[in-house]
């Protein structure tokens, strides 16, 4: 399994989770809210592009709106492979997090 980088993983999850229009501006808003950190244009769009090139996301143009001066929005959604990647990652984490020894102080 090819590992995803953290930002890539988070972007994928955000797209999966969000309920409003999944395009750049919104994705950025959501992920900023969820993580509490500031995400710049570059830090969103680079992973978006890479994920699409890797085949985990698929994008399509929506209809143009006047709001954006005639330019259309591009919606991203997860592909089957993208979903699969996330499931595998989740499985991996669960395997690691299962039955971890208790590290609280006081135990000999």
């Amino acid at each position: 399994m090819k590992y995803l980088s953290r930002p890539e993983e988070l972007v994928l999850l955000t797209i999966w989770k969000m309920e409003d229009e999944p395009y750049g501006v919104n994705i950025r808003k959501h992920i900023t809210k969820m993580t509490g950190k500031y995400w710049s244009i570059g830090s969103i769009y680079v992973p978006l592009d890479r994920l699409e090139n890797k085949g985990y996301l698929i994008s399509n143009l929506a209809n143009p709106t006047s709001e954006r001066g005639g330019k259309s929005k591009r919606y991203y959604e997860l592909t089957k492979e993208g979903l699969q990647q996330l499931q595998e990652i989740k499985k991996l984490y669960q395997a690691f997090w299962k039955n971890l020894p208790d590290l609280s102080i006081g135990k000999t």
Binding site: V25, Y45, K73
Partner: protein
């Protein structure tokens, strides 16, 4: 709703940096965000925001590019390693060949750089000049660094362009004594007190301005201080020199660096000479004498030419009359300090080529070796890459971009050359001791002083790598997969001409170097074995270094002569192999203005018999003839010939010691080194000459009893001279010292010859394996048609033989021309024999054939079935 837009510049920058697949939507999103912020928080805030975005995007952009750069780099590396492994022999040959070439270059550059660095460490180096003298004595031309003791003072007085002058004198190997420690020092100089104004030698103790003012003061190096005084402070202590004079230590300086033309351990004040010889001796007050070196420090901004133009009048003013009387014409010129080492041989008297010529030659050879190695590299790379046409075809089919392949091949060949570079550094480091011993200096790869070295080497590696890689990169990468896979491409057959040219060139250079080595060796052997005119075997020499020893001369001679193992004992001012005093004589029949220069040797009556010289006319000196010590002289055959004396006996010759009559003629022998023609020699039996006293005690030992005799000699010496250390050397060894320089050159050339051949064979080996594979089919067909194995071998060998013959044809004239010119600098030489050339040619042919033998025999033995199979 106002539609604010971020500026076009910002949009463009983002587009560029992010390289998004869908830049328009990204820009659209960007504009939307900008708009929103402008609406909610104002235009200014929005502007700040978009700047912020650009900066924040820049960082991951960089991280990304680096990441990709590294990934590509890693993938190229992997592929390159695979390629290397697949053709291990070829890779090794290629890398090794280039590495050797670069290593040679590095070593030579180190050597040359050291030679050029002489004397540059002095602060005022660019203003310091040596006063050199060029003139005609009795019709013969003479250039020298030695001058009189007066010029310095007059020059300083008369010429405002001159800031200061300093004189240097040479003390011949004095015995230095301090409490219990006694040694002979060979590097002792006299120097004026202005010495430290000229030369930068940091003084750790003492005051540089005054250290050399008082007579009988001496400044010593730290090494000497430790040698004689251990850890104690030497200042104010005294050193006894030649058991005659006590010198007070007035300063200690750091050891003199090796790259100095003037190497010394002790500096005695020049004033000492005036105190020692209060009656003012001729060599201190005579304008025509020449024992001292004079350096001149020019004022800042003065051009030496302006001073030089004033010298003729100066010379006329101070020396005019006397010079005219002796028929001497003299002119001064100035040699820059930094030129001295390269342009003046220090050993007195030898005119002609300085070190600089040899440096040019070595540089040339190094350059040639490097070029051969580089061309080899390029050729082998292109030859091998032709084989990879299939690989290229496959990869293209699988979707490789042309640009990617181009980059791959370029990277590969660059990688090869970088590995060669690293290997070269290792090889150079490994060969440093050998190179140091050939050069005579300790050489080291010192990157702190050679900041240019690494970039220069890297530049070479890049350059060669790129050139080598560009053929496969551009030519191959352009192949169409279909054609290539079918095997229909003509893989670089058109380059065979270029390849053959390379082989021929490499071998002709090898032949030239081999011929050179052989001729130099023969010349050396000739000079060593040539009859020197006297018997140099079985003679041990004890140097005499001061007056005290001479007083007991008769005693030691008698004591030694009684021993049965000692055949004869004599003293002289110099021994054969050394340059005696060279001064003016007035032979009978010549006027004052035609005074002749002769080498002047002072001996005793036993000199000629002890050294085995032959008297061809008249007789040797003898104590029976009372006048001999005051009024007799012996000359050599050359002198008689040059003076036009058919019957020299009875003729008179006058000099600073008076007039003497020729009572004998000695057969010419090599007093001065064989590299020079025999010059007129004047020998006198003159124990009373204090200017040119006895300095060498020569003892002939009976054959077979050397160790016994040596024990006795040592015992006798220590009995008679308990204070002076026993020091000796053998005449045949010291006589052979004159060949050291030529031997060094021979060593260097022979190494280069070996290297050139090795590189040539490496290249040949690599090329042959390639060519043999190319012609597998052809050979298979030939075998089917009935050719035998030996026939195939013969065919392949014949082609190489033709190339080697051509190489010889080019090499022989070149070698002949160069070596003949070199040989002509030696007055005593053999003729160049044709056999040398033929021999070299045969050697090279043999080596070449041996190199390809493996390939050719393998090719000859292959079963045609195998070679024709893959059709």
């Amino acid at each position: 709703m106002k539609n604010n837009k971020p500026p076009a510049v910002a949009k463009m920058v983002l587009k560029l940096m992010l390289n998004h697949s869908h830049p328009e939507t990204m820009i659209g999103d960007f504009e939307e965000s900008f708009n929103e912020i402008a609406r909610n928080r104002g235009l200014l805030r929005a502007k700040i925001w978009y700047w912020f975005q650009i900066v924040l995007t820049f960082l991951p952009f960089m991280k990304n590019s680096i990441y990709w750069g590294v990934t590509m780099f890693a993938s190229y590396c992997k592929l390159t390693f695979r390629a290397i492994n697949k053709h291990r022999i070829y890779s090794f040959i290629n890398i090794a060949g280039l590495a050797i070439g670069i290593a040679c270059c590095i070593l030579i550059v180190l050597y040359i750089q050291f030679e050029f660095s002489f004397d540059k460490y002095h602060d005022k180096a660019d203003r310091i000049f040596l006063l050199k003298r060029h003139g005609y004595f009795g019709g013969k031309e003479n250039t020298s660094s030695s001058n009189n003791a007066l010029a310095a003072g007059f020059i300083k007085k008369d010429f405002p362009e001159v800031e200061d002058t300093v004189r240097i004198g040479f003390m011949p190997n004095p015995a230095v004594l301090c409490e219990e420690k006694k040694f002979y020092e060979s590097r002792v100089l006299y120097a004026d007190d202005s010495f430290f104004e000229f030369f930068t030698y940091p003084m750790t103790k003492g005051d540089p301005k005054s250290a050399l003012q008082a007579p009988f003061s001496v400044v010593i190096t730290e090494e000497i201080a430790e040698k004689y005084f251990g850890k104690k402070n030497p200042m104010g202590k005294s050193l006894r020199i030649n058991n005659q004079d006590n010198f007070t230590v007035t300063g200690v300086i750091k050891n003199v660096p090796r790259n100095s033309h003037l190497l010394f351990d002790m500096l005695c004040s020049f004033q000492t000479l005036y105190s020692k010889y209060p009656r003012g001796h001729a060599f201190l007050n005579d304008f025509t004498s020449n024992r001292y070196w004079t350096y001149i420090l020019l004022q800042k901004g003065i051009d030496p030419g302006t001073l030089e133009s004033k010298f003729p009048d100066f010379i006329k003013k101070y020396g005019g009359t006397k010079l005219k009387i002796f028929g001497i014409s003299m002119e001064y010129f100035l040699m820059p300090l930094t030129d001295i080492h390269l342009h003046t041989p220090l050993s007195g008297g030898k005119t002609g080529i300085g070190t600089i010529l040899y440096i040019y030659i070595f540089a040339l050879i190094a350059g040639i070796v490097l070029i051969i190695a580089c061309i080899n590299f390029v050729n082998l790379t292109t030859a091998r890459s032709a084989k990879r046409a299939q690989e290229v075809g496959m990869r293209k089919v699988l979707g490789a971009q042309k640009s990617e392949l181009v980059r791959q091949f370029l990277f590969e060949s660059f990688f090869y050359s970088v590995i060669s570079l690293l290997l070269a550094l290792g090889l150079a480091e490994f060969a440093l001791p050998t190179m140091s011993s050939i050069a005579g200096y300790e050489l080291a790869i010192d990157l702190t002083h050679m900041l240019w070295l690494f970039p220069a080497l890297l530049g070479i590696a890049v350059f060669v790598g790129l050139i080598a890689g560009s053929y496969p990169a551009f030519f191959l990468a352009a192949f169409q997969p279909g054609r290539v896979l079918k095997g229909g491409t003509k893989t670089g057959a058109g380059n065979s001409f270029f390849r053959n040219v390379l082989v021929v060139m490499q071998f002709s250079i090898s032949v030239v170097l081999i011929i050179g080595t052989i001729i130099i060796t023969r010349q050396l052997d000739y000079m060593k074995n040539k009859n020197p005119g006297f018997d140099k075997e079985q003679v041990v020499v004890l140097p005499f270094r001061d007056e005290e020893l001479r007083k007991s001369l008769a005693t030691i001679k008698n004591e030694l002569q009684v021993h049965s193992d000692i055949v004869n004992v004599s003293v002289s001012s110099d021994i054969p192999g050394q340059y005696p005093q060279y001064n003016q004589k007035l032979p009978e029949g010549f006027s004052m203005s035609q005074s002749q220069l002769m080498y002047d040797l002072v001996v005793d009556e036993d000199f000629i018999p002890t050294l085995g010289m032959e008297i061809v006319a008249g007789r040797n000196f003898s104590r029976e003839f009372g006048a001999d010590q005051k009024a007799s002289a012996i000359i050599n055959e050359t002198a008689a010939k040059e003076f036009g004396w058919e019957n020299p006996l009875g003729k008179k010759i006058g000099d600073y010691r008076g007039i003497r009559t020729v009572i004998g003629v000695v057969r010419d022998y090599h007093q001065i080194p064989i590299t020079q023609e025999i010059k007129p020699l004047y020998i006198r039996f003159d124990p009373g000459d204090v200017y040119n006293p006895y300095r060498m005690l020569s003892i002939r030992i009976a054959p077979g009893s050397v160790s016994r005799a040596m024990k006795y000699i040592e015992k006798t010496w220590n009995t008679i001279y308990p204070i002076h250390p026993f020091d000796y050397f053998f005449l045949d060894e010291s006589f052979n010292d004159q060949f050291k320089e030529t031997e060094r050159i021979r060593e260097l050339i022979s190494y280069f010859a070996g290297l050139a051949i090795f590189i040539a064979c490496l290249g040949l080996f690599g090329l042959t394996s390639f060519v043999a594979e190319q012609r597998t089919k052809e050979i298979g067909i030939r075998k089917v048609l009935g050719a035998s194995t030996s026939g195939i071998v013969f065919m392949i060998s014949k082609e190489l033989a033709k190339m080697i013959v051509l190489a010889n044809a080019i090499a022989w004239p070149v070698a002949y021309f160069v070596m003949r010119n070199w040989l002509q600098t030696f007055p005593y030489r053999e003729n160049i024999s044709v056999l040398i050339f033929i021999f070299s040619g045969i050697i090279v042919l043999f080596i070449g054939l041996a190199t390809i033998s493996f390939q050719s025999i393998k090719a000859g033995l292959t079963d045609p079935v195998d070679s024709l199979k893959y059709e």
